[in-house]
Amino acid sequence: MNPSYKVVRSIQGGQALLAVGLALVGLAVSLPWWGESSWMREFVEIACYFIFAMMWNLMAGYGGMVSIGQQAFFGLGGYAMLVLGNFLGINPFVAVLLGALAAGLIAIPVSRIAFRLQGGYFAIGTWVIAEVFRLTIANIPAVGGGSGTSLTALRGIEKATRESVTYWMALACVVASIGLVYFFLRSKQGLALLAIRDNEVAARSQGVAVGRMKLAVYAVAAFGAGLAGGLYFVGNLRISPDAAFSVNWTAFAIFMVVIGGIGRIEGPLVGALVFWALNKFFSDYGTWYLIGLGLLAIVMTIYFKQGLWGYAQQRWGWTLFPTARRLVLNTTLATGLTPVQPAGPSIDGMPSATVNSGDPFQDGPNPSSRYAQ
């Protein structure tokens, strides 16, 4: 009854890409044995920015929730890590994960307030919420109040160990956050998220639990932000409310996502690289550097909405993380739907299904254009 078909979810050269990716990760893992400690520090810092941006992208780019208050969870992750490490004596590296978890859990009640607002109001409302957290922490003397405090839990650990463990952890978090977002978007739930972004009303009428989905994304994004926060302050030893809950975290995340291209996994990745390069070469210009970043974000938004990667994708059809499902029929009729291309080997061994049957089907043009996710 059904035509036999195959669903292609990979890209050509996927295996090669995967190999390159793995090689890069492998190289990165070995860095502590041959690299300088300043490189590790730099990586940890950029990793924190990247994870944070990735989560912001998930929330704003896919979930349509534009928040300027994600620093709330960044700070909470950091402070939770500090409390667990300093007062409860938990290993700070374990505390990073627990702190992120705490941030994710706190996001659930917080969403009840934040979701009262939409669009621009949501954005500023979340900022107010972040301020509430900042002021609350600033008024708790146990964690140093407004002046902040030092992470004493790390003092016993040797410098080299501390540096490499922090570095590996950051690396693992980067890979994990890419993986998490990628597999999430490839899953059935990812489909629902895309549907919500495109049309909330229709998504609801197709059985998608819109409210729950948004909450889940919000909580996951908070978890990621908390992770970035914990990681950052483990690398810094000192935390203060102003640093932890600074709106700059979100500002830089927005910058990276907008430059790289919002609503695509490659966006924050490209954005983080650009940001790192700009930071490296221009950050000495201080205020002028920041003015430049601001202007760049403005210009990109007005004239170049899809970002660098979005442009590449439109122009050359580049994709690193294929999440789309392309239907290919198992017939080679000249009039067929899609020529059965030698579809690239599946990048991650996702099953490509084949079902037998063999109806001929209608004529039609050859839609092989790729499109933006």
Binding site: R41, G146, S147, T152, L237, R238, S240, A243
Partner: protein, 391 residues
């Protein structure tokens, strides 16, 4: 030739900028003093001083300190000017195992604010300044010399200094009540608060005649103007931090006359520099001549930090961080702010104390307002210039 880099972090801009105002001048002076280089471990080294601005922001202070260590690879870091800059810089040095000498923070906020453990102290970071015990002695002694109802209102903000000064155990409250003063402390406020009517109302209600605290300069201005607006006129106003600088006093207009503050260094301090051999008076006059500005207290301490650094580097076996640290730790030096030596008990393993007195601003001859030393109970070596007047 080899180069040795010394990093210096201070607030050049932001609300605490007056603390860093003299640094550029001192550094210029040091460049001249070091123009022939210094000999370290038997080899001559060119000295390079890298100045970084913390923008009065703790986060930024930590970042620039990390940059100095990881990018500039400095041998030693010096830092000064409130816990907001000195603490994060010290922490970054402790973390990255680079020696650091800090100043211009009472030692309690520096030591306890960084969660220092008196038994073990710190391994890489050293501090030279006075402590809260000194400021409490100076202030209370000054107040007891005049007739008031001994009702004190306190302005302690939610920052490193404010939290330490207002601390129930370490700070003002305990000794004050021991000496028969009553204290109205309305709680920690945010720096940059735009409205002090709550505090003013509480002070009025309790009949406060003495106002004290440790606030940043702009907040002092906001408080004093609002106090005037709302008809609150205390007899004595002795504020730490905010009233240290002539610029801040001038900005207050008529409100500035008669305000009092702590004095950690002045031209009348009887000390000389180990590098330039200038007396305190010579040093401040040199500053006034080149910059055409009135002297400020941080000049002495910035200068002294370089004295200690220079002395340590000269004695260091090599530029290895451990060697430099050991040289710093074993310093015994007479500087333009007094004698510096570490190695006491408890926190004093890392802390060397300098003297403190009380001063009062009054109409001056050379400048609009000048500072007179009005109480020297905690440091009798420093000569008095007058007695405390009521407002």
């Amino acid at each position: 030739a080899d180069t040795v880099k010394i990093g210096y972090v201070s607030p050049q801009t932001g609300p605490l900028a007056p603390f860093g105002e003299a640094d550029k001048w001192v550094i210029e002076q040091m460049k001249t003093a070091f123009k022939d280089g210094i000999v370290i471990g038997g080899k001559k080294h060119v000295v390079q001083i890298v100045l970084k601005d913390s923008q009065s922001n703790p986060n930024r202070a930590g970042d620039v300190a990390n940059d100095l260590i990881l990018k500039d690879k400095v041998a030693l870091i010096l830092t000064a000017g409130t816990p907001e800059t000195a603490n994060p810089v010290s922490d970054a040095c402790e973390l990255n195992e680079v020696p650091c000498i800090s100043s211009v923070v009472p030692w309690q906020p520096w030591f306890f604010g960084r969660k220092g453990h008196p038994a073990t102290g710190f391994n890489w970071t050293y501090h030279m300044f006075w402590g809260l015990e000194d400021v409490i002695t100076s202030f209370t002694n000054g107040w007891m010399a005049v007739a008031t109802n001994k009702k004190v209102g306190a302005l302690f903000p939610n920052d490193g200094d404010g939290n330490a000064w207002g601390d129930k155990e370490l700070g003002f409250p305990k000794p004050l009540s021991g000496m028969g003063f009553s204290l109205t402390d309305t709680g920690r406020f945010q720096n940059g608060t735009q409205d002090f009517s709550a505090q003013i109302a509480a002070f009025k209600k309790d009949g406060v005649e003495i106002v004290t605290g440790v606030v940043i300069p702009p907040d002092a201005k906001t408080f004093l103007t609002q106090a005037r607006q709302q008809g609150f006129k205390p007899k004595v106003i002795t504020l730490g931090k905010a009233l240290l600088f002539p610029g801040a006093i001038e900005a207050l207009g008529d409100l500035g006359d008669g305000l009092s503050t702590e004095v950690w260094w002045s031209p009348s301090h009887p000390f000389t520099s180990s590098i330039t051999r200038q007396s305190a008076k010579d040093l401040s006059e040199a500053y006034e001549t080149t910059t055409k500005k009135q002297w400020t207290q941080p000049i002495g301490f910035t200068h002294a930090l370089f004295e200690v650094a220079c002395d340590a580097l000269k004695r260091s076996k090599s530029l290895k961080p451990g060697d430099v640290r050991d040289a710093v730790a074993s310093a015994k030096l007479g500087t333009v702010v007094g004698d510096v030596a570490w190695g006491g008990k408890g926190p004093f393993k890392n802390v060397s104390k300098t003297p403190l007195v009380l001063g009062q601003w009054g109409k001056g001859k050379k400048y609009k307002y000048e500072l007179t030393i009005v109480n020297n109970v905690s440091a009798p070596r420093i000569p008095l210039g007058g007695t405390l007047r009521l407002l």
